[in-house]
């Protein structure tokens, strides 16, 4: 989840509100307060006041900025959220943004507002840009669902049009370039066009934002115009627009920007969006807009989930101090989320907010008292018993990665083209070294042997663990099997030495077995046997083939066995 950079002095200013003296906050208070936003301080620079904070909650994009963090702390300190009047004061003749027909098939939704009266500071601008990036990247899924544009309001004449044009129909100079080009050219040469062009793949007409004078504002979601699409320090009038494919996410994103700017002292003026097609909010949509649906929750639901009797009043108080609008009626609270949040899916979400608002330390831990019987799975018990026997016979236990390479698991074992060489392989390979699940254990032991020719001999080692075997009869296409592999390596390592160990294991698990001749390319012919028990082949034992040792660059003979514990245990 996002890690953002904020400045302590900026936070202190926002804690107080515009025009007020900053409210100092100590680092201890800050760390305590970060619990309210599920934030963790990752780093700080006391000289510059820079703080690096990681925000955990992927459903709370409003918290991914200094304004949002400050707001959550401020609400808690003040006990309730101050109302944002731009939601209620409606202008008789609002500015308008017209949407062109056809966009419903390309990038259907837009939301916009203006913010005036706040002179953009260095820190404020840095936050605006960071919020724009984080929201578009993580909440907007790399601009696909949501992207954001900020403009200098002074140069724009309303109504603005969210238009749909052919790739070569209009031209403007994009940010980061100094020549005029068509939208099609931007997709081909502009870095942002190359990075985000995929969002518009297959479209023969492209989104285009322009003002009443046909001045280009931007090519959403790719790039803004260099002329009006770059807000600078000192500007005191800003136009914000959000476009995207999910109406409520688009509106929520604009709501976050509007509250952020309002918190810095800007006057927000809503804009009316006029669609030529139907939307869930109608054809004329005022943005920002309060999306909050209220929800009634019995206090008992909250109390039962928390394990604590609080009473309606305390519940209402905690939620109000967390930014909710709350009304109570008997043993029920009616809650509405503030406009910058939209993450209420279930009553349990409210339960957590009650707990966070009151502080987790407010809840006394209680031990669950109901009696349960503990125990291990059968396969784990069998594995533990065999591990103890292997240790008793002088074997060192190994733990290895289960992900390996086909080269080690198959090729170096001389299993190319054989059934024993079939693997569960990874589709999105990052490194060949980790591109297949091991189908047997011996390569894991050989890996250790190959790296340990300086460890004093003899080497006796084993590993009990899981492997994955392709199996077309299973829904998953493979089976997870627990196996035990044991290996002895030294200058005189000999079949009978490992055979004795295997024999001992079977004696103590009280199970009969026999060795039957078998063809296995990993072992020397005539010195390899299938381990057969209860009429089933459940393993193999033998002297490793010299070519296998050579492929692993091992300089001493090695003898080994492998048993399928899942079969042995009858699991």
């Amino acid at each position: 989840m996002p890690t953002i950079t904020i400045f302590k002095q900026d936070l202190e200013g926002l804690l107080a509100g515009p025009g007020e003296a900053p409210q100092p906050i100590t680092m201890e208070q800050l760390e305590e307060s970060l619990m309210l936003v599920k934030g963790e301080l990752k780093g700080q620079n006391p000289d510059t006041g820079e703080l690096r904070i990681e925000l955990q909650d992927s459903n709370r994009p409003d918290l991914w900025c200094c304004e949002g963090i400050a707001r959550q702390i401020r609400v808690k300190r003040q006990g309730a959220l101050a109302r944002y009047d731009f939601l209620t004061t409606t202008s008789k003749s609002p500015k308008r943004l017209n949407v062109a027909p056809g966009l419903e098939k390309v990038r259907p939704y837009v939301a916009a507002c203006t913010a005036t009266g706040y002179r953009v500071t260095q820190e404020g601008l840095a936050q605006l840009i960071q919020t724009q990036e984080k929201l578009a990247e993580m909440f907007g899924r790399k601009r696909r669902i949501v992207s954001i544009g900020l403009y200098r309001l002074a140069a724009i004449e309303f109504p603005v049009t969210y238009d749909l044009v052919k790739p070569d129909e209009v031209t403007f100079t994009p940010l980061g370039m100094d020549t005029v080009m068509t939208l099609g050219e931007m997709l081909l040469v502009h870095p942002k066009g190359l990075e985000f062009g995929g969002i518009l793949a297959g479209q023969d007409r492209l989104p285009f934002l322009r003002d009443a004078k046909h001045q280009a504002l931007s090519f959403p979601p790719i790039i803004n115009s260099r002329e009006v699409g770059e807000v600078r320090v000192g500007d005191d009038a800003v136009f914000v627009e959000v476009t995207g494919t999910d109406l409520s996410m688009v509106v929520l994103t604009l709501n976050i920007f509007a509250t952020n700017l309002a918190d810095r002292g800007a006057v927000i003026e809503p804009i009316e969006i006029r669609y030529p097609y139907k939307t869930a909010f109608g054809k004329a949509v005022m943005t920002p807009q309060d999306l909050g649906k209220s929800r009634k929750i019995p206090v008992s639901t909250i109390e039962r989930a928390l394990g604590q009797a609080l009473g309606t009043h305390e519940v209402a108080k905690a939620l109000t101090a967390y930014g909710y609008e709350v009304t109570t009626r008997g043993n029920e609270v009616k809650v509405t989320l503030p406009l910058y949040r939209q993450d209420l899916m279930h009553a349990m979400d409210v339960v957590e907010d009650v707990a966070i608002s009151r502080g987790y330390s407010d809840f006394l831990p209680v031990m669950p008292t109901q009696f349960t019987v503990g125990g291990l799975s059968r396969i784990e018990e069998v594995s533990d018993r065999l591990r103890a026997l292997m240790v008793g016979m002088g074997f060192q236990e190994i733990i290895s990665n289960i992900l390996g390479s086909p080269k080690d698991l198959r090729d170096a074992m001389r299993l190319e083209g054989t059934e024993r060489g079939e693997l569960v392989e990874v589709d999105n390979v990052m490194s060949q070294n980790f591109s297949a699940l091991r189908q047997w254990m011996l390569p894991s032991l050989l890996r250790v042997e190959a790296a340990s020719n300086r460890a004093f001999y003899p080497h006796r080692m084993f590993e009990a663990g899981e492997v994955a075997r392709p199996d077309p009869t299973k829904s998953l296409g493979s089976r997870t099997v627990m196996v035990l592999g044991g290996m002895i390596a030294h200058a005189d390592a000999h079949f009978s030495e490992i055979h004795s160990c295997l024999d001992t294991l079977f004696y103590y698990v009280n199970q009969a077995y026999s060795l039957e001749p078998v063809q296995h390319p990993s072992f020397l012919a005539g010195r390899v046997g299938a381990i057969v028990s209860d009429g089933k082949q459940i393993g193999v034992i033998g002297e490793l083939h010299p070519e296998v040792l050579e492929r692993w660059q091992i300089g001493v003979p090695a003898v080994a066995f492998e048993i399928d514990l899942t079969e042995l245990a009858g699991c």
Partner: protein
Amino acid sequence: MDISSLIDSLHPLEVKVLSTFGANPSAVLQTEQLAQSTGLEPSQLSMAVEWLLAKSLLTVDTETVTPIVSLTTTGELYFEKYSPIERVLSAARDAAKTGKRLTIQDIQSREGLEPSEVSGAIGRLKKEGALLIIQGGCIESTGRSSQTAESMRGLLQQLHGAPRELQAFSEAQRQVIQDHAVKRGNAREPFRIDDRVARALKLSITGIEAAQQLSRQGTAEEVSQLTPELLKDGSWRTKRFRKYTISLRAPRIAPGKRHPYREFLDTVKTKLVSMGFQEMRGSLVETEFWNMDALFMPQFHPARDIHDVYFVKKPTHASSIAEPFLSRVTQAHQDGGETGSTGWSYPFDAERARRLVLRSQGTAVSAHMLAAQPAVPGKYFSIARCFRYDQVDATHATDFFQVEGIVLGEDINFRTLLGLLNLFAREVAQAKEVKFLPAYFPFTEPSVELHVRHPKLGWMELGGAGLFRPEVTIPLGVTVPVIAWGLGLDRMAMVALGIHDIRELFTDNLDLIRSTRGAF
């Protein structure tokens, strides 16, 4: 060192030598006498004498050096096949009888001698007047005798297998011996002269005390090893056992033992079982359905990206997802279904749900358990291998263990969740101080992060937990509240094992595995 501990430290050979003096501590004994009365091999005796001299228990009274002559292997060879000088002279005499001309090359090839041996012999014979070298590289017998050649046979016979004192030979013989003795730079000679040092030895004052003490102790033989024979016939009663220098470093062995990280996980496993948890197991390959959908992670969730999860190449999809879970989970995602939730409001892709991945979180095992009619009340855990699409470095492994589980019960709520975490803190990390921080996991609400103060390791994050969202439990058929918990134990294990790189948990270095010991 007092006398008795000095005696205790003596080797049986030393005791034997000292005891020889027993009867007459002030005697001066020749080495031969000692050899005779102790019955020791010369090498053993000389070892014992040197040790006693070094310990100043014995001193040298007088020392006589006797040169001893013996045959070298070359000498023994000459004894059998005649020496070059004998063979050259005899060849020259045979030639004289038959009147044939004899060249040096002839001798060399006929006798199979080295050029240096032939030229040495000819030189000596010429000097003694027994040979002449004539024109054309031929040699001719003068008929006169050679002192060396004559003596050589006698000396070889006398010394064959029996070294003798140099003084036992006549002056002329001694000259021949010395001329043909092994010296530096001339190893191929028949004779060797060694100095035999004959010492007359006597006990020092401490030696006398030790000898007297030994004779008082009786004649108990000292042995180094208790043997089955000694036990069988009871003769160990008449022996003394040499004491060892026990401060010496022990020889190293490689024991059979558990892997240190596994030992740590075994401890955790035992703790969990003792707290009433039942083990669950799962599959390394999972469907996206059980790995994520069932955990109410929306299909557009960033953690489901190809940059976070490994997808299986073949087959790409499971053949089916069990009902009614597929339909119920689909509903929960789309509009909440029966769960009281609004859901994520997007069209659920059932095809995507069948996509096969490598299990990326242990919670997938818990999801299966929820669907398998778990016991209520019930406690479950798994130590599951999980896989993440991560660049491997000191803090990221692509393949790791997750210790995870669930607790079901009518009495489960936020406070019992905290109580359970307290229990983990105490039992798993021996921590008395804990902090509970709000956290976010897609499948729990409320969610908690558990931080503990480990007595040795300080404050650290021990795990995360929460109450499973009803969107998780209800579609899987569970109607009681459920705690989902996970412990992040790798860091604790790393500190306990003294390692700083997560890759070392699965190291291929046998020496490291053999030598690492845990501190848990």
